[in-house]
Symmetry: C2
């Protein structure tokens, strides 16, 4: 083992692993790319990655932990998504448009993340067809998922919404506090509890 360079962090290794699954990306591509994920963040439980109204144009990789994305209405906060280990997370509209984020992102457990700036990330997408393909696949997967979810939200019957989510993401119910799932399912914690 060479002593001249520091060993890559565990988070960088995990990110490299994720990228290794992308077709046609070379080891060199990945090595150069991960070097640009320079923003290391450690969040204790309850801490915020992004607060609503804040301009934060960073794409994050969740190495460990669990986060929720929420939208603050006047009265309450509604949960619109979660961030799991080994996935990407950001306030998407803010990341894409450059506007301040309407959403907040909060750690539900102690979480470790790696971040890359919008500028750096988009430079890779522009200059390398393989990264462009990767980002396009991310966008398509995300979009298909959101359309699925739109159905869930339109179903009038709380039981149907619960059953669809349970079928699609059973692991959610073992990791995320039920009250956030209830908000995500557009019902009160009491109603969710009675359905189970």
């Amino acid at each position: 083992m060479p002593h001249t360079s520091a060993a890559p962090s565990s988070a960088v290794q995990a990110l490299s692993l994720l990228l290794g699954q992308v077709p046609h990306l070379t080891a060199t591509d990945i090595q150069v790319f991960v070097a640009h994920w320079q923003k290391e963040v450690q969040l204790p439980r309850g801490e915020f990655l992004i607060r609503p109204g804040q301009a934060e144009h960073t794409l994050y990789f969740v190495h460990t932990g669990l986060l929720r994305i929420y939208f603050p209405t006047g009265a309450e906060e509604i949960c619109v998504g979660f961030g799991y280990e080994s996935s990407l997370i950001c306030s998407f509209p803010s990341f894409v448009t450059g506007q301040p984020s309407e959403y907040g992102i909060q750690a539900l457990r102690r979480s470790e993340l790696l971040g890359i700036s919008r500028t750096d990330f988009m430079a890779f997408v522009e200059q390398n067809a393989n990264f462009a393909r990767f980002w396009r696949a991310e966008l398509e997967r995300n979009l298909v998922g959101r359309i699925e979810r739109e159905i869930d939200l339109l179903l009038p019957d709380p039981l149907h919404r619960y059953q669809r989510l349970l079928a699609r993401s059973p692991q959610l119910f073992q990791r995320v506090p039920k009250k956030y799932i209830a908000s995500y399912l557009r019902m009160t914690p009491e109603t969710l509890s009675r359905l189970r």
Copy 2:
């Protein structure tokens, strides 16, 4: 005017106009591209572009008319989106994944469309960085819009949902029958009527 080639159809002209707004696309790029939109469709009011369960992996350009995208539940159909003039429309999950469509698309007025197969379209995206950029921008715009919409659907109060949609898409209320808007807003036509 040359007699050796047929004049481009009005639909092709409109599509070319839309593509002309894309940065870096050359006139030649556009000319070659639009030649692959070979599926011409004319739908009378009430007719279906795609029926649920059908495999239809075509991307459509709406030249004239108005369509609704809907999801059939056991009891009723819920409206998940609309297709306007000079915009693209498809059953997105089906177009991307190649699976049969869970959604239906129906003409609400007499509509004229142009279609391109998934295979042909993706070939352009793969081979030309400018088309890749165009498709990426489409995906990002679409995704941002869906996230906006997710908020609308999560708001518990029908009045708030109505107000948000009215602020974002006031033209909708002048073009689309209210009963479809009501379904889109997750409420009954009676409730929507009382809000106005």
